[in-house]
């Protein structure tokens, strides 16, 4: 399998788009016709050849363009990548997990040769060919988390485990749905989720924390989360809200299909072997509504989900300004027919 990497942008002219063959592999986040929070965690087993769940770290046609966008964000705001001093070992765990997984899953793109501590890493899509000493940060150009974080799609947080809690003590976060690493770094699990409405009362975070604290090595888990974003913009950070907030004013019934994007996070959870920390990749997938509705099952279902979404969630997810016209626009694709269970298209 050879991937044709696209030359595209997530800012300015927003040339990002999904190829027709990439659309059916989108991780559609709604297994049913209605949506409410749940601790929807399942084992991160290989599932469905060609789906984003097939490999440990999914690589798709947007890989190279996403890594370029990350470099732009980090150049403007180095605070998007931070690690508290005790997180260096976890950074090396992250390096190992990504390199070993990618070299195994995509041998035509990535190659890792280990001679004791002397590692040779080749990343063909990004034209990287480096030799370094594993565990010795002075042999890398930057912190190990930043080094590998610049080569893997999705944001990555690393959670330290102590005192029966998880602490957001490191991360490389450039494509976030409105949360600030610089503000949240050092917080525990409940603190950094504090602004999320409804879920605390439902006990979602207590259950999720209990599950994560006992996450074993070698048995990663995953869940999907979603929101909507106007324009295919990865960097929807609070820092840059004045840049992307006005986009929400630009949605009209005429352009809504191309402007409004379903933004899905494939979140996975990995126990790291040396540090006992948890690696938390938050991989973002974007798809314009025009692309979503090419799959009849998804078109019917997303109309029903959006129509029946709780008002608190409409507000929290920042959809208020265009939610009514979106529901109206989506209704033309819903003939009322039943939909099959699960997230995959028919």
């Amino acid at each position: 399998m050879t991937i044709q990497f696209k030359d595209e942008s997530f800012r300015g002219d927003f040339s990002y788009a999904n190829s027709p063959s990439n659309i059916p592999r989108f991780p559609f986040p709604f297994p049913e016709d209605e949506y409410m929070y749940s601790t929807n965690i399942e084992p991160h087993h290989a599932a469905r050849a060609g789906s984003p769940f097939e490999n440990a770290f999914d690589v798709d046609e947007h890989y190279v363009a996403e890594m370029k966008d990350r470099a732009l964000v980090l150049a403007e705001d180095p605070g998007r990548c931070q690690a508290l001093p005790h997180m260096e070992t976890a950074g090396w765990d992250f390096v190992e997990l990504v390199m070993v997984s990618k070299a195994r899953d995509y041998p035509d793109l990535f190659k890792l040769t280990m001679d004791g501590d002397r590692w040779h890493w080749i990343n063909k899509p990004l034209q990287i060919d480096d030799t370094f000493t594993f565990g010795d940060s002075s042999t890398l150009p930057c912190h190990p988390m930043e080094y590998i974080g610049r080569q893997v799609q999705g944001d990555h947080a690393i959670l330290d485990q102590r005192d029966g809690n998880l602490w957001l003590d490191a991360g490389i976060i450039t494509a976030q749905a409105d949360w600030s690493l610089d503000f949240d770094v050092g917080m525990n699990f409940f603190e950094w989720h504090a602004p999320v409405p409804l879920a605390h009362e439902l006990g979602v975070f207590q259950r999720a924390l209990k599950f994560l604290l006992t996450l074993p090595q070698g048995q990663p888990s995953r869940r999907l989360n979603w929101t909507l974003t106007v324009n295919p913009r990865l960097d929807t950070s609070p820092e840059n809200y004045p840049k992307w907030g006005p986009d929400r004013m630009t949605v009209t019934p005429e352009n809504i299909g191309e402007k409004v994007h379903l933004r899905v996070e494939l979140q996975t959870f990995w126990r790291l072997p040396r540090s006992n920390a948890i690696l938390f990749p938050i991989r973002t997938y974007l798809m314009a509504m025009n692309e979503v509705v090419t799959q009849p099952k998804w078109a019917r279902r997303i109309h029903r989900v959006m129509r029946d979404l709780r008002p608190e969630l409409v507000e929290y997810k920042g959809l208020s300004r265009y939610h009514p016209i979106l529901v109206e626009w989506l209704s033309q694709f819903d003939d009322g027919a039943p939909t099959s269970p699960g997230i995959f298209p028919d």
Binding site: F183, H200, P238, P242, M249
Partner: protein, 203 residues
């Protein structure tokens, strides 16, 4: 002055207790004018021979002298006062850099002072179990502008204008102990022409 009621709905925000002396080899106090009476209350009860272990830092309100006199009269080993929280917290850092195991830290006053004291204690390696906090006085918030990272002290209004980047900030119910600040996010970023009424809400 009555004890303050802090809303319980903000999960990232610390809860505060009442200062009480616990066994320790040294007792460090940091207070502002609204917290001074807490320091006086607990230190007064100590036997005279323990005063050698007591160190007090104080941030008076400008022009106020009576509480300085009362705090001085407690007879602590060291007593110093500073015009700003920042300077007092800086001095606390100096003192704590020489501190030994068994050190206790007591913080009393407004949330900005307490939060910055907690952060300094953590930075100096004090375990959180060795730090006690009592909230007194104004519910004014210390706010970090998420856009330009400016710290804004004593915020009483919702929204508040950032003095540096001039954006109008909504003060989110989200608190960082590391920064000892609430998060301020532009309230009218989507439509900058929107007129927003500024109300005094954190008193």
């Amino acid at each position: 002055m009555s004890e303050s009621i802090i809303e319980e709905s903000i999960l990232s925000r610390p809860t505060y207790g009442t200062l009480k002396i616990v066994p320790g080899l040294a007792h460090y106090f940091l207070a502002d004018a609204s917290g001074a009476e807490c320091v006086i209350r607990v230190v007064q009860e100590l036997p005279r021979d323990m005063m050698d272990k007591v160190h007090i830092l104080y941030v008076p309100t400008p022009g106020e002298a009576a509480l300085i006199t009362s705090l001085y009269a407690l007879g602590a080993n060291r007593f110093e006062h500073f015009p700003t929280i920042e300077e007092a917290v800086g001095k606390l850092g100096e003192w704590l850099s020489d501190a030994k195991m068994g050190t206790q830290l007591y913080l009393a006053g407004t949330e900005g002072l307490v939060g910055q004291g907690v952060a300094k204690g953590e930075e100096c390696g004090l375990d959180h179990t060795a730090v006690q906090c009592e909230h007194r006085g104004s519910l004014a918030r210390r706010v970090q502008c998420v856009h330009c990272k400016t710290m804004i002290e004593d915020v009483t209004t919702q929204p508040v204008k950032c003095p540096s980047c001039e954006l109008l900030l909504f003060v989110r119910d989200h608190y960082s102990r590391r920064l000892a600040a609430f998060q301020g996010v532009c309230i009218n970023a989507e439509d900058p022409t929107e007129e927003i009424e500024i109300k005094e809400v954190f008193k």
